[in-house]
Structures are given as structure tokens and as C-alpha cells.
């Protein structure tokens, strides 16, 4: 830890012009062109593509959110803030928003927590063995494969799989409870508005945790071994090494993971759409913004309102991004 560099802090940006520079040839344009043209040439094409395919749909969506567009006809008119007015008074929207926020708070915490724990156990948490001060638990390479496996499956398959598992009549979950004599714990699972969202969260954690195990493992393997050896010589236990060495050195990776999980939590569309048909679960108990946009557009023929929900989603995402980048600012260690 030789050097501590501040990240995200302001570095002096002012450009100093060499006082005695030779007078440049040509007029101002060629000068400008010499300086930036090359770069601009390369940047313009992707920028145009980005503007057409990324920026313009955003702008259009915002535009359409002020119309009564049905999505079934190109005939529509401006209605001002009517869609937003409807949105603010719509119970389902608030419910969906609440669910997304709940997912946003819980999913990353649980998934990343588990990911970190597993990765730590696989890489440094094992017993000391010959010739190696630091090692993972026995058979850690096999565990890695097992953990990563759900990541290989498409979310559609995962969701279908768990739909059967949760089936209260012949699903594996109730059958397992039955088999060990815990029939009293049998539930309707996805059919119970109290449980449905938690069931979905479990699936999302299950399918994502493996990715973070692998990601964190990779990051951990780049931490120099001698840090651990030094800590062990000083008598640190596993918990101390985790919180004093591993976690601080992994902070950047954790932050990246947090953003990814946040995106997944703000989406959650596929799992909800496939698993809790209805859609949106019993009494909208698993309704999320993404699905609400979809049903408003494709079932109710109210694309104008749907785009308003989409804009609301955009705002939530932006707030999330700001918060994460604020929280993320901290010192980075280099080694």
C-alpha cells in the first residue's frame, strides 16, 4: 500500500498553453481540425448511432408520455400532464414502485453479501494447508462451477423451473416440507400475496449469486498473498482478515456489482412475467414497473400512460445512479 490516490476528486483541469509555441500554420479551422479532427472523425459515427438509437427513443418516450397514444393507431393528440396526473393517483403504480424499491434495497444486499461470503470461503477461508498460508475450503474449484451454473441458464428456464418448484399441489418445495414432516409450513407460495414477492427474490438471488462468486473470486485472487500471511502472523482471524483486508481491497468490484444488481432489481420483468402469471401476482403483489409498462401498452392499449410510467422509471434509475456514485466515492488502494 504504497500510494493512496484520490479518485473522483477534482484534479486541476485548466489547460496551460505553452507560451512560446511556434506560430501554427494555416487558419483557425485547420488548426482546430489538426487538433481534434482525427478524434472527432472516429467519434462521430458512434455518436450519431448512439443519438439515433439511444437518445432519440428516450426523447420520444418523454414526448409520447404527454399524448393519449393508444399504441394501436398512429392517431394521437397532446394531453399535457394528464398521464402524470393519472400516474400519481394510480394505486398499482405506487405498489409497483414500492416493490421495485424493495427489490433495490434487498436484492443487492443479499446477493452481494452471499457472493462475498462464498467467494471468501472459496479463496481464503479454508484451513491452512501445507505450503499455502491462504487457501479456499476443500473442493473449492468444484463449488465454483456449481455456483456459476445457474448463471448459464436463461432466466426463462430458471423462472419456469421455479414455477414448478413452487407449485403448491405437486411442487418440490411443498413435497420436501411434507417429506420431513413439516406439512404445517406448506404454503401457496406464488399464490400468496404475502409471499409471492419474496419467492421471486429468492429466485433472483439464486440465479445471480454465482456470477458474483466468480467475479469476487477473480478480484480476490489479485490481492497479494503476503497481506494475508502478514495478517495471519499477526494473529488475525478469518473475520478480521475479511473486513480489514478483503473487503476494502474489493471495494471497486463490489460497487460494480451493486450497480448491476440495481439494474436487475429495477427490471425484474422476466421473472415476474413468467412466474406470477396473472400478471403481476395475486392482487398485484408482485407488480413491478417494467411489467406495468408492458401490460399498459400491450393489453390495455394505453401506450401514452405506459410511456409516462417509463419516464417515472427513468427518474428512479437516475436517482439510483446518483446515489450509488455518491456512495461509491472513497479512497482506492493501489498495490
Amino acid at each position: 500500500m504504497q500510494q493512496v490516490k484520490k479518485v473522483g476528486g477534482a484534479e486541476p483541469v485548466g489547460r496551460s498553453r505553452p507560451a512560446a509555441a511556434p506560430a501554427p500554420r494555416g487558419n483557425r479551422f485547420t488548426r482546430w481540425y489538426r487538433k481534434y479532427g482525427f478524434v472527432a472523425g472516429f467519434l462521430s459515427v458512434p455518436l450519431v448511432i448512439y443519438a439515433v438509437f439511444v437518445i432519440s427513443p428516450f426523447v420520444q418516450a418523454i414526448y409520447y408520455s404527454f399524448t393519449d397514444w393508444t399504441g394501436l393507431s398512429s392517431d394521437y393528440k397532446m394531453v399535457g400532464f394528464k398521464n402524470y396526473d393519472w400516474l400519481l393517483n394510480d394505486d398499482v403504480f405506487w405498489k409497483a414502485l414500492g416493490h421495485n424499491i424493495l427489490l433495490l434495497l434487498i436484492l443487492p444486499l443479499v446477493t452481494l453479501g452471499l457472493g462475498l461470503f462464498f467467494a471468501f470461503m472459496l479463496n481464503v477461508g479454508g484451513r491452512r494447508r501445507k505450503n499455502a498460508a491462504v487457501a479456499g475450503v476443500q473442493g473449492s474449484s468444484i463449488y465454483k462451477v456449481i455456483y456459476f451454473f445457474p448463471q448459464v441458464l436463461s432466466i426463462a428456464i430458471v423462472a419456469l423451473l421455479f414455477q414448478f418448484t413452487y407449485n403448491p399441489r405437486n411442487g418440490a418445495l411443498n413435497a420436501a416440507l411434507d417429506a420431513v414432516g413439516l406439512d404445517s409450513l406448506e404454503q401457496l407460495w406464488l399464490g400468496d400475496p404475502e409471499l409471492a414477492l419474496w419467492c421471486l427474490m429468492a429466485v433472483m438471488v439464486w440465479s445471480n449469486v454465482g456470477f458474483y462468486v466468480v467475479l469476487f473470486s477473480a478480484a480476490m485472487s489479485s490481492i497479494p498473498r503476503d497481506f494475508y500471511e502478514a495478517a495471519l502472523l499477526d494473529g488475525a482471524n478469518r473475520i478480521t482478515t475479511f473486513f480489514r483486508i478483503t473487503l476494502p481491497l474489493l471495494w471497486d468490484t463490489v460497487q460494480t456489482g451493486w450497480i448491476y444488481m440495481g439494474i436487475i432489481a429495477l427490471d425484474a420483468f422476466a421473472v415476474v412475467q413468467i412466474m406470477t402469471v396473472g400478471p403481476g401476482g395475486p392482487a398485484d403483489s408482485t407488480q413491478v414497473l417494467g411489467l406495468y409498462v408492458y401490460t399498459k401498452t400491450f393489453r390495455d392499449g394505453q401506450a401514452g400512460r405506459a410511456t409516462a410510467i417509463g419516464v417515472a422509471m427513468l427518474v428512479v434509475t437516475l436517482i439510483f445512479a446518483v446515489i450509488v456514485s455518491r456512495l461509491g466515492r472513497r479512497e482506492r488502494l493501489e498495490y
Binding site: 392517431d75 395475486p282 417494467g290 400491450f298
Partner: protein, 478 residues
């Protein structure tokens, strides 16, 4: 990262990209947007009108058909297309046939872009909202088809060969007929004759008998009822006619008309409480609130429950799991008490599988002609045989060996005579009926998480909200 939401996000992105792409031209046409994407110019020329070709179909234009691939599959439509090709040999190989469950996601971009197909079976969980389609002038008036001679008997008009009420159902406001319902569905309480007979039971004609029968069945470890808990909007298939039977036609009409306090009618309360009794006494198959329609139907065909609210498509849909000696049958809602306004035998029967010809279709005459062929005896009988359901063609069952469920539906229909109900809330206000009433209240009530009184209060509020919502096109019984 190659992670998770492959299905969802990408699909959604693709769709929004598609929408975005459509949006670009429409944004350009913004100044002229009031007239919309009227693309009359893309239409094919009409053919020559003749006795054989009364709708003046362009014989070489080809055809674009989209069929909902649900309980009835799409083979019947393919067969009809073959008939079409036989009649107009020049179209051979030019008929584009698409079968999908995702009607709206498939077709919405095409409607927006002004290039919809020529004939659509707008059905299923993702059917396009009729109110919006009609309100936005997206459909072709089918009157020329109804006035064309029937394919079997040129002296009769197509409209005179159809079952009572079918033409009416296709009207949304005023004169034009926007929708033609091809199938004719009998809704009610479906059961197995052989299962009842095995235990010496009879189909209950009163609600008290229904409860008694369920009690008996419970002793034998058979549940009384099951229903698709994930789609609780199947419950109305037997509940709405029950309400109509108790309180009379007007109750259902006022519900359809979104009249204030329509749901507060005593008949609604009585019917809800009767159904709630099924839950309270434990006559609903365990786990039902989590089952999809196929899961519930399988439980039912396996004899785990006696009754299921359903429509006549169930015979075809549940074919694979139905034992040979099941003897499927449909029953009318039992009588609640002597005060019922309508006699036992009152049922809900109405057109199913709504077919539409879009306004901007390239070849609307072709679309209508295919429907005319489908409404002929040959295609109708083919449909009856293939999928065990009636068509809107009156009769047409002569000489066909009807499977037991369909035979019972036919019998029930004859017995009901004029006492046929047709609640329109199902097709007038799809979102209200499915999401709000079905999933928001009825499903909750039958799972025991809401009392009938709470459910009624909630539904009334949903209905009032819809009545107030000026983005929803309103319809009234005339």
C-alpha cells in the same frame, strides 16, 4: 455481462426498439398526425364481382392471416385456407399464415405502421382491446360479408345463417359490425358425468344441493371445486350467469353499463356469498389459488375436484389429460332459492374467437371471404370435429358425432331457449374484468383473503374508476 434477463430485458428492448422505429416515421408525420397512418393506397385492387365471388376478391392478391393459437389451435384455419385456395387457385402459396399466443405484441407494431394483416383472430390473454380498436377506427365494417350470400345456400345471406346474438355482439356502437365471433361458447360449471354417476350423485339444481354434494365429496376426499387461481377471471364464467339468474338480466346489463352501485345489487351479494361459502367450508381443492388454467384443468380431469368454471373450449384444451370415460359435461348455475328471477337452465352462451378485418388491411375482401368460407358448413363441421366447439353457424352439427362435452353444451343451449345471458363486460372492458375484478377481487375472495362485502366494495370502486376514466371508450346496452 451476459447475465440474467435474457428473456425479459432483451425482448422488451427489442419491442421498444421496434416501437421506437415506428415512432420515428410517425414523429416525422407529426404535422399530419390527425389523419393518422391511413394507407388506403396500399390496398390491392378489387377483383371482379361474380356469383362465385360476391365480395369481389382479387384472386391473385394473396392473404395474410393471424390466428390465436390457444385452446382451439390453428389447424381449423389452415384447413379453411386450403378451401380458399381451392376456390381461388391463383392464391395458392400466397397465403401467409401466422399462429401465435401473443396477438397484441405481434400485431401492435403492424397496426401502428399501417400494415396489419387481412384477418385476425383477436383472442387470448393478449387480445387487443376492442374498445380502443373501434374507437381509433382501426377496423373494417363487416356488413358486406353479412350481406353476402352464404357459401352453402346462395339464396340466404350470411347474417341469416348465424346464431342469435352473434351479429349484435360484433357491434360496439351504431350500425357497423366490427367483429365476427366465429366460435360459439357455452360457459358454465363443467363436470364429469361418469365421476358423479360412479358415486350415485346428480348434478345439483339448487345451491343447497351443491353444498350438500360438495360435503359428500369431501368425505370421499374429492374437492368440490377448483378454478384457475392464477387467472381468477375464469370464475365469472359460472358466477356472472349465476348473478343474472338470481337478479335478472338487468343486473348484468347495469354492470356492463358501469352504472353507479351496479355491483351493490342484492343478487351480486347473494351470489358472492354463495361462492364464498365454498371456500369457507373447505370445498375448494387445496392449492387452487396458485394453479394456472392447465394445472387446474388437469386436477379436474384427474378427478381431484368435481366442478370447474369454464367455457366450451376446455374439452379441446384438456383433451390430453382427459380419461376416455370422463364424459365431460357442462351444467347451468344452480338456483339459489325460489326468488330467482330466471329459471334453472339459464346459461351464459356467446360468441368466442373474435375475428376482425383491420381497416388498413391490404386485402380486406380476402379476409372477409375467408370468414365466409369458414362460416360454411364444411369448415364449420371441420371446426366442430377438430376442437369440439360449436361455431356461430346455426346448426351445422347434423351428421357430426359430437363429443360428450359439446353434446352436453348443445343440449344445454336447446334447453335454455331464450334464457341465454351475455355479459359484455368481458369484451367491453378487458382490463377491468380481468385484472381488477378477476385478479384484484374475485381471486382474493375465493382464496379467503377478502370477504364478499369487501370484494363488492372494491369491485364497485374499480367500476367507478373505469366509468370516470375518459381514456376508456364506453359502451352501453341499447
Amino acid at each position: 455481462m451476459g447475465s440474467t434477463s435474457d428473456f425479459g430485458r432483451r425482448d422488451l428492448v427489442k419491442r421498444s426498439a421496434a416501437l421506437g422505429l415506428i415512432a420515428v416515421p410517425s414523429l416525422g408525420a407529426l404535422s399530419a398526425c390527425a389523419s393518422g397512418g391511413d394507407s388506403d393506397g396500399d390496398k390491392v385492387d378489387k377483383g371482379t364481382k361474380s356469383e362465385k365471388n360476391p365480395l369481389a376478391v382479387n384472386e391473385s392478391a394473396g392473404l395474410d392471416v393471424v390466428i390465436f393459437d390457444g385452446g382451439f389451435g390453428d389447424a381449423y384455419a389452415k384447413d379453411a385456407e386450403k378451401e380458399f385456395e381451392k376456390r381461388y387457385p391463383k392464391t395458392a402459396g400466397k397465403i401467409k399464415h401466422t399462429a401465435t399466443q401473443k396477438i397484441q405484441t405481434t400485431l401492435q407494431p403492424r397496426f401502428n405502421g399501417g400494415t396489419p394483416p387481412d384477418l385476425i383472430d383477436n383472442s387470448g390473454a393478449e387480445q387487443m382491446d376492442f374498445g380502443t380498436l373501434v374507437g381509433k377506427g382501426q377496423l373494417t365494417d363487416l356488413t358486406p360479408l353479412l350481406d353476402a350470400p352464404s357459401i352453402d345456400d346462395p339464396s340466404k345471406k350470411v347474417r341469416d345463417t348465424l346464431r342469435e346474438g352473434v351479429v349484435e355482439m360484433g357491434r360496439f356502437d351504431g350500425k357497423p359490425v366490427w367483429v365476427l365471433y366465429y366460435a360459439y361458447t357455452v360457459y358454465g360449471i363443467w363436470y364429469s358425468r361418469s365421476l358423479l354417476a360412479k358415486h350415485g350423485w346428480e348434478y345439483p339444481e339448487t345451491w343447497d344441493d351443491m353444498l350438500k354434494l360438495c360435503k359428500e365429496a369431501k368425505k370421499k376426499d374429492i374437492a368440490g371445486w377448483t378454478y384457475p387461481g392464477k387467472y381468477p377471471y375464469y370464475l365469472p364464467f359460472s358466477l356472472y350467469p349465476f348473478i343474472g339468474k338470481i337478479g335478472g338480466r338487468e343486473v348484468l346489463d347495469s354492470i356492463d353499463n358501469l352504472e353507479p352501485n351496479a355491483w351493490k345489487h342484492p343478487a351480486v351479494k347473494a351470489a358472492f356469498e354463495a361462492y364464498y361459502e365454498l371456500y369457507r367450508k373447505g370445498y375448494i381443492l387445496e392449492g387452487t389459488p396458485s394453479q394456472s388454467h392447465t394445472e387446474a384443468q388437469t386436477d379436474w380431469t384427474q378427478g381431484k375436484a368435481l366442478f370447474i368454471p369454464n367455457g366450451s373450449w376446455v374439452e379441446n384444451e384438456a383433451k390430453k389429460t382427459t380419461p376416455d370415460d370422463f364424459q365431460m359435461a357442462v351444467g347451468a348455475p344452480p338456483s339459489l332459492d325460489d326468488g330467482d328471477k330466471m329459471p334453472f337452465g339459464t346459461i351464459w352462451a356467446s360468441g368466442g374467437e373474435p375475428f376482425i378485418v383491420p381497416k388498413n388491411a391490404r386485402n380486406p375482401q380476402g379476409g372477409m371471404e375467408l370468414l365466409r368460407i369458414m362460416l360454411g358448413k364444411k369448415s364449420s363441421q371441420n371446426f366442430i370435429r377438430q376442437v369440439s366447439s360449436l361455431t356461430s353457424l346455426n346448426g351445422g352439427t347434423e351428421g357430426v358425432d359430437l363429443p360428450s362435452g359439446l353434446a352436453s353444451a348443445q343440449e344445454l343451449l336447446t334447453k335454455a331457449g331464450p334464457n341465454v345471458l351475455n355479459p359484455r363486460i368481458q369484451d367491453w372492458y378487458v382490463g377491468l374484468n380481468k385484472q381488477q375484478i378477476g385478479i384484484g377481487a374475485l381471486g382474493e375472495m375465493m382464496a379467503g383473503r377478502m370477504t364478499p362485502a369487501e370484494a363488492i366494495k372494491k369491485i364497485q370502486k374499480f367500476a367507478d374508476d373505469t366509468a370516470k376514466d375518459d381514456s376508456v371508450t364506453k359502451y352501453k346496452h341499447s
